[in-house]
Subunit: 223 residues, 4 copies
DNA sequence: TATGAATGAGGATTCATTCAT
DNA sequence: TATGAATGAATCCTCATTCAT
């Protein structure tokens, strides 16, 4: 392996273990000793690749956002009408969460962590620009739907926001309850029906979407 | 002032300053030195009232939850039909947030903080029971609406969940953006329209609710 | 109950609970909150009776020493010759330990605790004077034995010291092992034979004392 | 100096200063700030070498026990008969105490300190195993003496215990008195005669050992 | 470039003692 | 006289960051 390859490999392994640890413990509680150990490098080496704990955190976040964006973009193009394209986005998003729950964990964490105040302005802007990119995708789908007469004229930015917030907060909430071992409703139907409900609210012909009937409270317990 | 009054006063002031500090810094970063100083008591005094940092945190959370619940309950009874009662809840909730934004901050914080893992089981159960109480109120309104034929038959627990998640996540998200000084859309219309959109999605006669037309992007900057 | 009686009662109860706590935890670790609680008085009340933690500790020690001395003195007078009188002392001492192990604990503790450096000179002198009083009793018995020709001429002060040290260290050592749950030999025969062995060493006619033969190692486990 | 040498040097210096401080103040009162300062390292450095205050304490104890055992073992092999070999052990033990009084201090301290309850079981077992090793040496000498007909048949384990306790408690007691500046008898003759007295008590021909006559009370004052 | 030993500021918690009621 | 709330110094331990090797 060449020197450059070795360096890239080290960087990759550091990011990988940082993701694990930040995911599990959050920014404040995460311990760089453990990150270094998991990555198989010395603690000092971390500082050759990242300027500080915050910098490393941001790098992890950035990588996640990039992965997300590409995925969402692709999903948004599958389907012949707004409702189907939105379902596609929702399904991909959900599937990705199932595969990589920790990506999401960190993804949200940044909103709540108290580090924020200490991150450089540029970093914050970068993070929020990622959010906006994703929002743009959803917005585009809605806008197309309104243009084609499938959706009622409405504030598509607002609805895009609502859809994002619903999706994220349902998953996040389920996540939290699982971690805390609190009883909770099965996530997948809850999540998909939430999207359907909102979409039904802006359809010109709401009857196109049949909402599911009341279900008995099938609870789920954390594994 | 009698001794007992002084004691109650001390406790109140400690809770008050703890709320401020936990709100601003989160559990991990919050510094008990500062809490004591703001409360005008000695550091050791904190430990006469609360067994530990975590215990103090829980006390703050509990107080907030109690306040919330009473408010929501009252609001849910104002209005003649499900849509109006839901609007009432939403409005009260929003108004309360305007008055006491820090209450909400902490309210949500518990979902993300890494303390959770270290809190005793009983405390976690207590906190989630508060959430369930609030959810029950919303669920009751929806159930009434379905019974009266105003709403389509649907899984009212799911919809109640969705409404809660939407409301909370919009406010929380706005909050976060404000703190980070990220440009954002005006919260109030976004928030109310989100509720309307979801309600419209389960109305037997969707046309009863007119969604707002597209708005130019009036941005807001954090004060 | 008169006011004076009440005061005496309080003092007694404080000393009692202090003894328990100091016994169990040692001076440094002992907690005056617990002492007050066990005594059924307020923490501040302790300071009406004793000037400081150290002062209270000394009061407990003093009371124990007094009790010991009276006992030893009486025991030393039972028996017709030096060997029997010494056996009597040893037996009483041992019996008293069985009844009041915590008295002994504190009794010895003062030799090892790190408080010493902080106790006032007068207090230290007082404590050591108690030891000397006890030593005097033993010495008196030996001196009588030498005078009567029962014991060989020897340095009776030295032998008295040795006897005391043997007795105390065997009991203390057993005590420690019990607390630590370390296997140990049965104390009583070990203790009595030790006294016999030393006495045999200064007898004019050593054959008067038959030493016990080797015993199988009957171990004892802490209860 | 290489990095490894420096590391060893740091460890050595920490142990050294820890010994001093633990000796002087006991476990509870000992202050790690001072240990670090005396060792010329930062406070945090202590924790690179030892996991906790207790761990450091145990390390000091362990090192002392090792040193003792090797010494005692060697001494027990010098001499042609049981009495002489026992004198050899006693003399070496005493000499070592003169050279390294603080080793002994800590050596005994562990029996009285209240830390014990908090030390892990394995550590306690290790510490007591050291005691047993030393006891074995003494026992071996006595057993040889009985076999050769030099000593009367007796419970050699008991006598070994007594000899150890006598030796230790005399030294410890002298130590304590010195620290407290209490007048005391010269230790060396007291100590050696105590051993002689006990040995005389188990000799087949007691007259082989002449006990010293009464001495005027030559007192010693702490330096 | 990588290492890992050293750093030292920072923070939670304890508890003997004081003093206003 | 008794109380018990308040105090705040004391201290163990953590961990992000630095820098000599």
């Amino acid at each position: 392996m060449s020197r450059d390859e070795k360096k890239a490999e080290s960087r990759r392994r550091i990011l990988e273990s940082a993701r694990e640890v930040f995911f599990r413990d959050g920014f404040m509680k995460a311990n760089l000793d453990e990150v270094a150990e998991k990555a198989g490098v010395a603690k000092g080496t971390l500082y050759r690749y990242f300027e500080s704990k915050a910098d490393l955190y941001v790098a992890v976040l950035t990588r996640n956002h990039e992965i997300f964006h590409d995925l969402i973009k692709a999903a948004s193009e599958q389907g012949d009408n707004a409702v189907d394209r939105m379902r596609s986005i929702a399904r991909f998003y959900f599937a990705h969460w199932l595969d990589h729950p920790d990506y999401f964990q960190i993804f949200w964490a940044v909103d709540n962590e108290s580090v924020i105040g200490e991150l450089p302005r540029a970093v914050i802007d970068q993070i929020s620009s990622f959010w906006e990119l994703n929002l743009n995708v959803t917005h585009g789908v809605l806008e197309d739907g309104v243009s084609s007469g499938e959706l009622v004229p409405c504030d598509t930015w607002e609805v895009a926001n609502v859809l994002w917030e619903v999706a994220n907060s349902l998953i996040e909430s389920d996540n939290t309850k699982a971690r805390r071992q609190i009883r909770r409703r099965p996530l997948e139907p809850l999540y998909m029906h939430a999207i359907e409900t909102v979409m039904r609210g802006i359809l010109v012909e709401p009857t196109r979407i049949q909402l599911s009937p009341a279900q008995p409270m099938r609870e789920t317990r954390a594994s």
